[in-house]
């Protein structure tokens, strides 16, 4: 009897190790998630409205003018405020538009958002305070907390606040701008849909000096039952080349191409060798 009790005690200690208990507390977020609208000709920040001016963002007059100038420039074939062609990181909050799938991994102290081609986003849930010596980044620093909304002992939502940015950053590729002071604060409330656990909501509120009020959008992501990953290097995929002020394309066979009809070739007067 004594021997059996000892065995039982030992097993209870093993079973009570933190990993198992901790795993059970979290909602079923660990999966690959996709944006259902990505790759369908644009990725508007507010998914209920068309991209560009149709977003009707609450911009200050100064930033509305910057936005309209960007849209005009893009209509002429330029990049406007969108710097994707230079392979600059999108940063927050744009990275949460999930232009490509993202995987969520939960550990007690950190929740990881692992995207296909951008730096991994770490959301610290260990109760830490904002670090004073952290370098500003495009992704910012994220601190989160898990919430048990219905008091059933299981977390339902992850609340995240992200600060400490550098720029330039935009909301979407139309060049919808964030303020140049980079004092953005992004608040997120992430939870599974009540009716469909394969739908994840991210209510994202952006507070920024380019905006007249906090701007909240509800982005939804779909769980991917058969995850698929692709190695996607911005520079490899990037076919834009800037030589001085002139932009060119690089063809699939690695040769320089004009971006517009009648565009002159670059000046090669520094080359003494014959052309290949």
């Amino acid at each position: 009897m004594h021997k059996t009790t000892g065995l039982l005690m030992a097993l209870l200690i093993v079973a009570g190790a933190p990993a198992l208990g901790a795993e059970m507390k979290y909602p079923d977020f660990e999966a690959q998630w996709r944006n259902p609208t990505a790759g369908r000709g644009g990725n508007p920040w507010d998914t209920t409205k068309p991209m560009g001016l149709g977003q009707e963002p609450p911009l200050t007059p100064e930033y509305q003018a910057i936005f309209e100038a960007s849209v005009r420039e893009q209509k002429k074939g330029g990049q406007g405020n969108s710097r994707g062609s230079t392979c600059i990181l999108p940063g927050m909050p744009k990275v949460m538009n999930f232009s490509e799938p993202m995987e969520i991994i939960i550990r007690p102290h950190i929740t990881y958002f692992v995207p296909m081609r951008y730096p991994t986003r770490r959301i610290y849930t260990d109760g830490r305070a904002w670090a004073k010596d952290e370098q500003p980044t495009f992704g910012g620093t994220s601190i989160g907390r898990w919430i048990d909304l219905d008091g059933d002992g299981r977390y339902d939502a992850l609340e995240v606040e992200t600060r400490n940015f550098k720029g330039p950053r935009v909301f979407e590729s139309s060049g919808l701008p964030l303020h140049a002071d980079n004092q953005t604060v992004v608040k997120e409330h992430i939870y599974l849909d009540n009716n469909d656990k394969n739908v994840l909501h991210d209510e994202i509120t952006t507070i920024d000096h380019a905006l007249t009020r906090p701007w909240t959008v509800d982005r939804t992501y779909l769980r991917e039952p058969i995850p698929y990953w692709m190695e996607k290097n911005c520079y490899e995929a990037n076919q834009h080349v800037l030589i001085g002020a002139e932009e060119y394309f690089v063809s699939a066979d690695g040769k320089l191409m004009p971006v517009r009809s009648g565009q002159p070739p670059p000046d090669l007067s520094y080359f003494s060798e014959p052309r290949r």
Partner: protein
């Protein structure tokens, strides 16, 4: 006796619970930030970089390697394409010139790099999908090994295939074969006397080599991890057209990187 049976039943139930896929109880203590235990990125950390690596290259690839070293000695990049933001790929990635974090899930282990895309090692026993496109990192399948039979995994074995290139073993441009039929086998385990050290025995099988080449890299656990946001950006003044590198002159014109460099092909332009 009935009381004893009940206790045994409870014990069995608890034992089953304990054997559930609880990460901390099954897998070794790999989940951490790891940094390279050495300096530089010479592929064999026990030898100096360059020719002193005594890489088992075929005569053809030894000549390619020596040409890369000469090119670099002249201030160019040789076979090292990192300056044009071409991905390092495998196996070079595992030199850990910047920190890496390991996260273990039952069917998938993640190697999350500060300066590269996350590496996914599939441990669900499934073969590589036929539709998998080749990549610089390749496709990795792994298996956990309980070397001591104590119910806890000790070793992680990985095989990686399905590559594209160009890839080099290190920054000297030590080449891999352009057929990209490389196979990389890794065996990771914690040091027996210091579990803050992780060893990775890496064997590279490649047609540029006369035999499989095995080196052991050692990574050091970082208990207070800090991360830097990394974004590969081409150096100011550098212009890449495909894999060819040029320079931008102060007057905004394209100029050769080195004396005698031919200009880019302008065959797509009508006005010349």
């Amino acid at each position: 006796m009935p009381a004893r049976s009940a206790l045994t039943a409870i014990a069995l139930a608890v034992a089953m619970l304990a054997l559930a896929p609880a990460i901390a109880q099954t897998y070794p203590d790999f989940e951490s930030q790891w940094r390279s235990g050495g300096d530089g990125d010479a592929w064999d950390p026990a030898k100096p970089a360059g020719l002193a690596q005594q890489a088992p290259l075929t005569a053809e690839y030894q000549a390619i390697f020596e040409a890369s070293l000469k090119d670099q000695a002249a201030g160019r990049r040789g076979n090292n394409y990192r300056s044009s933001c071409v991905l390092d790929g495998m196996p070079r990635l595992m030199s850990l010139t910047a920190p890496m974090e390991i996260l273990i899930q039952p069917g998938l282990t993640f190697f999350i790099f500060q300066e590269a895309f996350a590496r996914r090692i599939h441990t669900d026993g499934k073969p590589m999908p036929d539709s998998e496109p080749p990549s610089f990192q390749g496709y990795s399948t792994g298996r956990w090994i309980d070397a001591h039979g104590d119910g806890r995994y000790d070793v992680f074995e990985i095989e990686t295939r399905n590559f594209k290139g160009p890839r080099a073993m290190d920054s000297t441009g030590l080449p891999l074969h352009k057929d990209n039929e490389t196979v990389v086998r890794e065996r990771l385990y914690l040091d027996k006397t210091n579990t803050d050290r992780l060893h990775n025995e890496i064997t590279t099988i490649d047609h540029a080599f006369t035999r499989p080449w095995t080196v052991t890299k050692t990574y050091v656990r970082e208990r207070n991890p800090r991360w830097r946001e990394y974004n590969c950006q081409i150096a100011p003044g550098a212009v890449f057209i495909g894999l060819d590198e040029y320079r931008l002159s102060p007057d905004g014109k394209l100029k050769p990187l080195y004396e005698g460099q031919p200009p880019p092909d302008l065959g797509y332009f009508k006005q010349r």
